[in-house]
């Protein structure tokens, strides 16, 4: 069975400090993993993707994520938060052998001035 767990429903960081949004997955088959961001009243924008190439993946807006198979994790990080990063972030896993797509529950990121 496939599942995605985003461990924090809310994360607050100060502007200029590092961001860590946690995601753990389980998948019976080789997964592809994605992070999406959703700003208020907007659609889902792809931040980055892992599809079995390099384990450290760089995305847009300074975000990156590292695929750690031993920990079944795909945490999203950014060295320095910006006010414009305030949004909802979703970790998504898909199974490469078919079209099963599972969303995490989302983490709302708050940026404190």
């Amino acid at each position: 069975a496939q599942s995605v767990t985003q461990l924090d429903s809310h994360v607050s960081v100060s502007e200029g400090t590092p961001v860590l949004l946690r995601c753990n997955y389980s998948s019976s088959y080789s997964p592809s993993l994605f992070w999406y961001v959703q700003h208020p009243n907007k659609g889902l924008q792809l931040l980055l993707k892992y599809t079995s190439a390099a384990t450290l993946v760089k995305g847009i807006n300074g975000f990156e994520a590292e695929f750690k198979k031993s920990e079944t994790s795909f945490h999203l990080t950014k060295p320095s938060a910006h006010m414009s990063d305030a949004a909802e972030y979703f970790c998504v896993v898909t199974r490469n052998r078919d079209d099963k797509i599972i969303f995490g529950k989302g983490t709302r990121l708050h940026i404190l001035p």
């Binding site: 659609g43 924008q45 898909t94 078919d98 995490g104 989302g106």
Partner: protein
């Protein structure tokens, strides 16, 4: 950059009425999806569509729901007799490749059932 477009952005409908949500996927994409996000809840998969057929559907996608690709560009979601609990944000997505490729999402249609 090509994008997925959805219309309308907001749809208000009386309970029991039929509603059609429209999507124009990215032109060379082959796989199409609908998702639902009830206010304050997670994004839920509804259905995937490929080669003019449904390839996967969730438990939510019951007989009240149908999808269609009536021409080469549009991809529609129809809810035959809406219920209050159908109120949600509905997202369309498309992708070029199955499995590994990322999905590209539209901005969504907010459906409000009165």
């Amino acid at each position: 950059e090509p994008e997925v477009t959805q219309t309308p952005s907001h749809q208000v409908t009386q309970m029991g009425q039929e509603v059609i949500l429209r999507c124009v996927p990215i032109s060379n994409h082959l796989y199409f999806y609908w998702y639902r996000q009830i206010l304050g809840q997670k994004v839920e998969f509804l259905v995937s569509f490929y080669n003019n057929e449904i390839s996967e559907k969730s438990e939510i996608f019951d007989d009240q729901f149908s999808v269609e690709r009536p021409d080469g560009s549009n991809f529609t979601l129809k809810i035959r007799s809406t219920k209050l609990e159908d109120s949600a944000m509905y997202f369309c997505a498309s992708r070029l490749q199955r499995g590994r490729g990322p999905q590209h999402f539209g901005d969504g249609t907010r459906l409000s059932i009165l």
